[in-house]
């Protein structure tokens, strides 16, 4: 039985995004009308009732985040939609931009009402350049219908959205690095002396959210927070878009209620492993996420059950690797990614990634040593605790979880000196 649901993904492939009328006929912009009736307090109540947590990776409760933000004073405030989606194995935000851009726009306007902001930006990664103009067109059509621009729906509220193109840097998905790059600088994370909601873009109060979070806000106001919160488990409520990919028969972005098992995701939704092979491991949450062995396949996909095993949901990536893959080869592709994407601002991440790459290469060629294994574990832990931003903190996650669950794969790659006497 396939346990996918259609709430956030309800409109996927159901309408032509060139036509805003088709979106309207599917109930589009009804959530916005409700948002004007509810006002900031009412919107926050609905979000709290829904149990929604941020979908950008950190999983902070959205109702709480918006409530704190809505108390920040200021005449000029900014909404940012984070569509940088740089985490390898993650593409669910792309589905939203591609198949339901108005839902994201609607969510941004609802955020603006809550935060009392008049300026909006959507930061779309450069790699999605083929979607930039399509999104601009959706903004334009929304404006023509009076959903954006001045005096939206005659409520005396002004809000507009500009598309900003990223330029190919994973670290820019981190909010402060994203803001730095929008200010014309290289995208290195900032020291966070203030919350972004107090001092963000150009030092203005800024509320930044992930694409899926904003789309979920639209769905929640449309269906009602209580109703949405009925999906999922008691402490991970609602639904999640997952990016299912790798050696699996039906890769794609799917919406699941929290609480489905990993087995259901791989075998029922994904149609099992390609060519009937056996599963070697999963990686959850993208390159920065943990390696999960087949023995944990009956875990429920939700924050608490995975969290208890030290696994994060992260971006919602579910990467499937079959039995033919060696763990160390896979880790090398993860490591190459972080080595390339480390911004170089802090030593643990810059040097840690460099040294770990060198050592890992020795395991790939079968020239590792017991000392090497100890060293990469030690360096990984330093990175985890001493790195300046989330990139360096999470870069060794896959490696550490692989050493925990697949120690044999490392030992097999240790160089053996043959005794001659």
């Amino acid at each position: 039985m396939d346990r996918t649901v259609s709430i956030i993904s309800k409109n996927f492939k159901k309408y032509n995004i060139e036509s805003i009328d088709e979106y309207l006929s599917l109930g589009g912009f009804k959530a916005l009308e409700k948002a004007f009736d509810l006002g900031p307090k009412g919107i926050i109540n609905e979000l709290n009732a829904s149990g929604l947590r941020g979908r950008g990776g950190a999983a902070y409760p959205t109702g709480k985040k918006w409530e704190q933000a809505s108390r920040v004073p200021g005449h000029r405030k900014v909404i940012i939609c984070n569509a940088d989606e740089g985490e390898p194995a993650t593409f669910k935000d792309r589905y939203l931009l591609q198949y339901d851009p108005y839902k994201v726009i609607e969510g941004m306007i609802i955020a603006a009402i809550t935060f009392n902001a008049n300026e909006g930006y959507i930061y779309i990664r450069e790699e999605y350049k083929y979607l930039h103009d399509k999104f601009r067109r959706a903004i334009q059509l929304s404006k023509e219908k009076g959903f954006l621009g001045e005096n939206i729906l005659n409520n005396g509220f002004n809000f507009d959205i500009t598309v900003f193109s990223g330029a190919g840097a994973y670290v820019c998905g981190e909010s402060t690095a994203l803001i730095e790059s929008m200010e014309g600088k290289s995208g290195r994370p900032r020291l966070k002396l203030n919350r972004t909601s107090e001092k963000g873009l150009y030092q203005l109060p800024t509320l930044a959210n992930n694409v899926e979070t904003l789309a979920a806000v639209t769905s929640i106001l449309y269906t009602g927070g209580e109703e949405y919160g009925k999906y999922g488990t008691p402490s991970s409520r609602g639904t999640k878009l997952i990016s299912l990919c790798g050696n699996v028969n039906r890769p794609g972005a799917y919406e699941v209620p929290f609480g489905v098992t990993l087995r259901e995701i791989v075998y029922d939704i994904g149609g099992g492993i390609k060519e009937g092979k056996a599963l070697k491991f999963l990686q959850l949450g993208g390159a920065s996420g943990a390696i999960v062995p087949p023995s944990l396949l009956d875990l429920k996909y939700c924050y608490e059950e995975l969290g208890n095993k030290g696994i994060d949901i992260g971006s919602g990536a579910v990467l499937v690797a079959d039995e033919t893959n060696r763990v160390v080869d896979f880790l090398k592709s993860v490591q190459d990614f972080f080595l390339h994407e480390s911004c170089g601002k802090c030593t643990p991440c810059r040097e840690g990634n460099r040294q770990i790459t060198k050592i890992l290469n020795r395991f790939v060629t079968g020239e590792g040593s017991v000392e090497d294994l100890k060293t990469i574990e030690r360096f990984s832990n330093v990175m985890k605790y001493a790195s300046f931003c989330g990139l360096g903190k999470t870069a060794p996650t896959a490696l550490l979880s692989a050493i925990e669950h697949f120690p044999i794969e490392f030992y097999q790659q240790i160089h053996r000196v043959r005794k001659t006497s």
Binding site: G86, F91, A167, G246, A253
Partner: protein, 165 residues
């Protein structure tokens, strides 16, 4: 690869971009991206970097800090079409190496090189979010996935048509 000859008309077009963004250095990233878009070899020549620095009243080192930080900006010329092959985790599991071998064979170059006629540059890239159709490559801004050998050859020939036509 040939270097772009920076003439007055190119600088005029770049000035138009700079003015559209109010000569404001906060818009540097966008200005650089749009300027690079005008240059067939997909890079920012030094003269252009200097020119932008002067017009925005900022040191050239700051301009280069941004150019060298972002993968989408280049300080060296590339072929007319840039083929980027993803070698991140998902494409690794789906054996990007098979695409690499076909591309290298068809174009008669190795990864990191440019064809003699300057039509194609072949390079690796990090994940560009096409993991559902992995292994994948992109040519300029367009993404190609779910590839077979026949399809790859067809795609390359199409571009050859464009670049010679």
């Amino acid at each position: 690869m040939e270097k772009t000859i920076v003439d007055r008309s190119l600088l005029n077009s770049i000035d138009e971009i700079i003015e559209r963004y109010n000569c404001d250095k906060h818009n540097l990233l966008t200005i650089l991206q749009e300027s690079q878009g005008l240059i067939p070899e997909h890079y920012i020549p030094e003269v252009v970097a200097k020119h932008i620095g002067i017009r925005l009243n900022m040191p050239i080192s700051k301009v280069y800090d941004v150019i060298t930080f972002f993968s989408a900006l280049n300080d060296r010329p590339k072929g007319k079409h840039v083929i980027q092959l993803c070698k991140s985790s998902v494409c690794r599991l789906n054996k990007y190496q098979s695409l690499r071998d076909i591309l290298e064979r068809e174009l008669l170059i190795k990864m990191g090189e440019t064809t003699e006629d300057g039509s194609f540059t072949l390079e690796y890239s990090a994940c560009f979010g096409a993991c559902d159709v992995s292994p994948a490559f992109r040519i300029d801004d367009k993404v190609y996935g779910n590839l077979t050998e026949g399809k790859i050859i067809e795609i390359i020939n199409d571009y050859r048509g464009i670049s010679h036509g």
